[in-house]
């Protein structure tokens, strides 16, 4: 089994530019795990992936796959396989030939090729398509072929470059589960790039959040969700996203309290540092009914989004806009003045200036 390790890898496309595309970063994907690089476009996640693939050379640093230093090797020598956003299927080859291409280049015996391709095609349920050309396939089918082309190689590391972004929502969730299933079966080390936090949450063993060429946080999906290390990570994950309100730190009766406009929230732990705070609170940590220990805040209902099982209620409070996720479907109506209850145990406290978690 194979571990993927990046040490102090950085990339600067233009030597004159001040900001590199990728600041020096360290990353280790343990053998058999799936790491997902996630972040907004331009954050450096694709650059990282392409450096791992060998399609770009890092400006500094080293890439190790297993115990081999592959920094100076071409893509062919790295024993990796990559699934492209555009699938990059060879348009003049049939599905079978697409799958067999890498094996053929490696001079695998024809019988073996047939066996391996058929096995992969069966696993991906694309067996009936083997004699067709990519032009005659639907988006989902192409996606499966692209996956198959990577799988048939049985590489040490799988690389995915936003593989689902060209699919519609339904297919995307289906394929997400498919990828997860395959990963469960093969247990190959994977590096997966996406800008979609849902994909990251659902697929990853480890999530790597990136922004502007920096790695902001590395952790398991629950870590990232429950304990975001800064305001960006906190805001990036979760639908609807976390609400932020400004507050100042005070001490009331020996208890640290965050006080903002129209609310006052006891802080769960004594926090050091800045006076100015930014309180993040997820919609599910706000209730419309009074709960023990919760802090009230008044506001007016701006709009309602009915999700079916739950309702999202958008409130304008003195502290700013808040979103409440509630199972109560007939409660507040638009225009009502209501009181929302914040759960201090589930509030995240950030430094307003550095945006780091306190």
């Amino acid at each position: 089994m194979t571990e993927l390790r990046l040490t102090q890898v950085s990339k600067r496309y233009d030597e004159k530019s001040e900001r590199p595309a990728l600041w020096p970063m360290d990353l280790c994907v343990k053998s058999g795990r799936m790491a997902v690089l996630v972040g907004p476009s331009g954050c450096g996640k694709s650059t990282t992936l392409r450096i791992v693939a060998g399609l770009e050379e890092p400006t500094t640093g080293e890439v190790h796959i297993g115990d081999r230093n592959v920094t100076r090797l071409g893509p062919a020598a790295r024993d990796i396989a990559m699934v492209f956003q555009s699938y990059a299927l060879y348009p003049h080859m049939t599905v079978f030939e697409n799958l067999a291409f890498a094996l053929k280049l490696r001079k695998v015996a024809a019988a073996d090729i047939r066996e391996r391709v058929t096995a992969v095609a069966r696993a991906l349920e694309i067996e009936p398509l083997l004699s067709r050309r990519p032009g005659a396939l639907s988006g989902g089918q192409r996606q499966r072929v692209a996956m198959g082309r990577a799988m048939v190689r049985e590489p040490k590391v799988f690389l995915f470059d936003e593989p689902l972004s060209n699919l519609d929502a339904k297919l995307r969730s289906e394929m997400r589960r498919e990828i997860a299933r395959i990963h469960q079966q093969t247990r190959t080390t994977c590096l997966y790039v996406t800008h979609d936090q849902v994909e990251a949450m659902t697929l990853a063993d480890d999530i790597v959040v990136m922004k502007d060429g920096h790695v902001l946080q590395v952790g398991s999906p629950l870590d990232i969700y429950d304990c975001p290390q800064n305001r960006f990570v906190a805001g990036f994950f979760g639908t609807p996203s976390m609400c932020f309100v400004d507050a100042e730190r005070h001490t009331e009766a020996g208890q640290a309290v965050a006080r903002g406009r129209g609310f006052s929230l006891p802080l769960p732990a004594p926090v050091e540092g800045s006076q100015k705070l930014c309180i993040g609170i997820r919609p599910e940590a706000i209730a419309l009914a009074e709960a023990p220990g919760a802090s009230p805040i008044r506001g007016q209902v701006q709009s309602r989004e009915i999700l079916g099982a739950e309702v999202l209620i958008h409130i304008t409070s003195d502290a700013g806009p808040l979103t409440v996720r509630t199972p109560e479907r007939h409660g507040a109506q638009v225009g009502d003045h209501i009181t929302a209850w914040l759960d201090p145990a589930r509030a995240h406290v950030f430094d307003a200036a550095t945006e780091e978690r306190l």
Binding site: P75, A88, Y90, L105, R106
Partner: protein, 516 residues
Amino acid sequence: MKQLGPYALAAAAALVIALGSFAAYRNRTFSEAEVARAEAAAEAAARGQKAGPAVIAAAVVLAPKKSARYPFLSHRDAIIGGRTVSLGGPGSPAIHKRLYDAANHCDDHGAFSELSGDSGRVIAAIPTDRGTAVAITQPPSPPEPLPWAILGGLLAIGAVVAYCGITVGGAARTIGLAVGASGLAAPAYIWSGAIPAAAILVIAVAVAALDARGSLRRAARALHEGRIAYAFLSPTLAAMVVIVCVPFVVGLGLGFFDHHRGEWTFVGLDNFAHILSGGGHSLADPLNFWFTVAVTLAWTAVNVILHVTLGVALALVLRKPWLKLRGTFRVLLILPWAIPSYITALIWHGMFQSEYGAINQILATFGLDRVAWFSSWTAAFTANVATNTWLGFPFMMVVALGALQSIPRDLYEAAATDGASAWQKFCHITLPSLRPALGPAVVLGAIWTFNMFNVIYLVSDGQPGGSTNILVTEAYRWAFERGERYGMAAAYATLIFIILAGGTLGIGWLRKRRAR
């Protein structure tokens, strides 16, 4: 009345044929009558009788008095109206020259009579004891007028018959139409025999049959519905017919005739038989059709291969992002294409010249022997190919550049991760991606090269010994260097067409089969 549309269509076609057969009939009877009149006048002149009406000149031209010094000069006197007149010399009346030339012609070829198409005059000459009797007549009366009464009457009767048929309906409609439109067949038969009459009958029956099937009504409706479109199309359609269809059909037809000094003789498939049998030359003889076919095929194959190889290679080089001055190179490389091909061909012909040609000069500076470029088949063929490659590669390069730019970079990256080397990427990604664009370009380039007259004619001109001729230059030589044998040239052109059409269809079939 609108119901008579199909009848009007058939009647119009029949009328054209009937008028044509009447014109032929009138010209025949007219010329027969006039020639008879001129011959009678000549005989009258021979007997010394007075000339009849419509005779412009009648004379007995006396035997020539040969010049003692010049065998091609002779003096002739003529008896005109009883008086002896000396023919010839500057300032003589033009009619005297006609008498003089007619008498000469009669002396050489015997009695003749001839209707001049331009003036309508008839000249007749017969040899007599006293000399040559010549008469020139001018037709006294205009030719018989068109028989509008007969034509109009028959058309009207036909219209009535057709109308009755239409009113009754059903099978009567079809029969009425056929019978009504056949009326003009009778006078056409009397005037010009069975062929025009049969043509009219065929048209009448065909129109009636089409009418019965409703095709005519549908066609009329389609014509009416698309009248604006057809109005816009008609100038182009007319131009296509005149510029493409007519010459094509005429060219095909000419292949069945032999042209010899202005005379056309129908020879059936003789031209083709002569060409395809090799014209009595051995297979190794450049004049054998099959030799030329082999040269043409070799010429086409070698050129197309070089054009594609060079074009793709240069396109690959020009694609490289590191190449500075890429734009400049692109322009420079397209230049050969932009210069008229005959100018390029003439320049290359000069460059291959053995004494002062640039190529031999360059060879000489390297201490190599001068090559007599047009003395051996290989050298001459090479010279032609070099010229045509220069002319042909930019097209392939432009096509390849366009196709290369449309290959996504992902494909190369995918191939790289799949483990392909640079050469394998070229074979498995670049070449197959070029194929859809290059395929039609190769077919087009092959057709151009197959018929590349300019280069062959201007560079090697078939040298040595006609062995570098291709089919199209052979066709030219039959038309313009071997005594205007247009029939042979047309037969060559037809064969070229058959070869190219067959080749193109064959390639299309192969491609389709391959795609499947």
